[in-house]
């Protein structure tokens, strides 16, 4: 493995310079330096990887590697590809090479028997690039390192030669200027009217009152046509500025591109320790600091938001207990406040220790998709989501992140995420519905959550000549 310290370069600029390579993956802890005091641990690392040695894809429950079908269940195939080897050096960043990509929400149908939605989502159920060369940015120490592992070569000399050649390629690309950015404007439109979303929320409340679920997460979707000269990476550059987030990401996987400003960790596995950070409870921030503090305090004391959060904490404790040692599950933070650019969130932390013989892939199988974006009980909540939303969710509410060769993993919950595919940009926003929900307030909460994405799309001055988004198929 080659590890080389580089002269300081901004992570986004590095991503722009490597954008000409296929399979760009930018895991972007896009917190501003002054915010690191609050989010020091979450926002410490960013990674820029490109030109994977293979692409792992899941379609209709079948795994493919560079288009060739792989035997076995998709997660088993992914486990075999990522493998397991010792880190070798304690000074390395958490990610030491492996898979970077996403699991779509709809991959959850491969883990439980669930109905298919009326309108299937064309995005693959999972896409991961297998990366041997990447840049690691340590925002705390201010270090930038180029790491080249030499994978997929196994044998010593061949692996060293490949590692060197790949490191040289990256250094050469980093020396070149990035291409000029294209347009970043999008004109999003809702796919349903407010009354329809509110009717869905009312239906969700009925399911709660009928005893089907304690909570169900319902979302609405916005769509924009993608202009011919649109530059998704440049859009991510704007998004990370107006809405910096510790789990932001940009993926350019050919048929699909993803720009995300997620504040939420789904699961981290490191040294056998597992952590989930479910978010449930949101309040819009205000300009005046005193009033803003009051908004945060009100959120921390809100009966509805605390109830939502605790329900999901219970669900996560249950999910993690399936792969963790007995009595190792802990909740070190219950309903803590985390503040981001436009929103305060109520965040809990659930931790555990993986049981002997269990690994990160087992944790995905036990807990995916994250309970904070389904509701509880999870399976019934997923059924209701499919029934009421009427379509697949695709990348939205899935997970973006990495699985490392050393058995570590860090996946987020893919919310505040824009997906580009087939000449369209799509963004969905939702919220947890409980017996205490008010449909109109829930509708407004979805708009609040989308506000920064719409701002990043330059919608204040979005040209009206762009055609409106497509309408949703009748449920």
């Amino acid at each position: 493995m080659i590890v080389r310290d580089l002269a300081p370069i901004e992570a986004f600029e590095a991503a722009r310079r490597l954008a000409g390579l296929p399979g760009l993956a930018f895991l972007d802890s896009a917190m501003r330096p002054e915010a690191l005091g609050v989010h020091a641990r979450l926002g410490r690392w960013s990674y820029v990887a490109a030109d994977p040695w293979a692409m792992f894809t899941v379609r209709d429950g079948r795994a493919f590697l560079d288009g060739e079908a792989r035997d076995g269940a998709p997660l088993d195939a992914l486990r075999r590809l990522v493998g397991r080897e010792a880190r070798g050096d304690d000074d390395l960043p958490p990610f030491v090479g492996g898979a970077i990509g996403f699991l779509a929400y709809d991959f959850g149908r491969r883990l439980e028997r669930l109905d298919e939605p009326a309108e299937a989502e064309p995005v693959p159920e999972a896409m991961f690039g297998l990366y041997d060369t990447f840049l690691a940015f340590d925002h705390v120490e201010g270090r930038v390192r180029l790491i080249s592992t030499g994978r997929p070569e196994i044998e010593g000399a061949a692996r060293r030669r490949r590692a060197q050649a790949r490191a040289d390629l990256f250094l050469m690309r980093l020396d070149r200027p990035a291409r000029p950015p294209g347009t970043t404007r999008l004109a999003f439109r809702p796919t349903v009217d407010p009354a329809t979303h509110e009717a869905r929320v009312a239906a969700g409340i009925e399911h709660v009152l009928a005893g089907d679920v304690f909570q169900v997460n319902l979302a609405q979707r916005f769509v924009a046509p993608r202009p011919a000269d649109f530059d998704a990476l440049a859009f991510h550059g704007v998004l990370r500025t107006v809405n910096p987030a510790p789990f932001a990401a940009f993926l350019a996987f050919g048929e699909v591109e993803v720009a995300s400003a997620s504040p939420e960790r789904f699961l981290e596995v490191r040294d056998g320790r597992i952590e989930a950070r479910p978010i449930k409870g949101t309040a819009r921030r205000v300009v005046d600091p005193a009033e803003d503090a009051l908004v945060a305090a009100r959120l921390a004391l809100s009966e509805k938001d605390r109830a939502e959060n605790v329900m999901i904490v219970d669900l996560m404790r249950n999910d993690l207990s399936r792969v963790c040692e007995d009595a190792s599950i802990d909740v070190p933070v219950l309903c803590g406040i985390e503040s981001y650019a436009g929103l305060h969130h109520l965040v809990s932390v659930v931790t555990g220790r993986l049981a002997p013989g269990r690994d990160a892939i087992d944790a995905i199988a036990a807990a995916f998709p994250g309970g904070s974006i389904t509701g509880a009980p999870k399976i019934r909540a997923q059924e209701i989501i499919t029934e009421l939303e009427g379509h697949g969710r695709g990348v939205y509410c899935g997970s973006i992140g990495w699985l490392g060769h050393d058995g570590s993993m860090d996946l987020d919950i893919a919310i505040r995420t824009v997906v580009f595919r087939d000449g369209e940009a799509t963004v969905s926003v939702g919220g947890g519905i409980t017996a205490l929900s008010d449909p109109a307030a829930e509708y407004d909460e979805t708009l609040t959550k989308a506000a920064r994405i719409f701002a990043a799309a330059g919608m204040d001055e979005a040209p009206e000549t762009i055609a409106s988004g497509r309408r949703e198929a009748a449920a």
Binding site: F188, A450, E464, G469
Partner: protein, 59 residues
């Protein structure tokens, strides 16, 4: 004889519970059937930024 009475009583109780459960399932099913959501086919409106920074459908 006491055993027969006990079994008969248990049977009546089980049948009664079954009937009550069936009735309740029907009631909940009927109630949820009324929650099917019609999709409003009106053209979705343009989003306009409000004073609070949130984009809402224009009036």
């Amino acid at each position: 004889m006491p055993q027969v009475l006990l079994i008969a009583a248990a049977g009546v109780a089980a049948y009664t519970a079954y009937r009550v459960l069936r009735r309740e399932m029907g009631r909940v099913g009927e109630r949820l059937a009324g929650t099917r959501v019609p999709v409003d086919i009106a053209e979705p409106k343009r989003l306009v930024r409000d004073a609070d920074g949130v984009f809402r459908p224009e009036a």
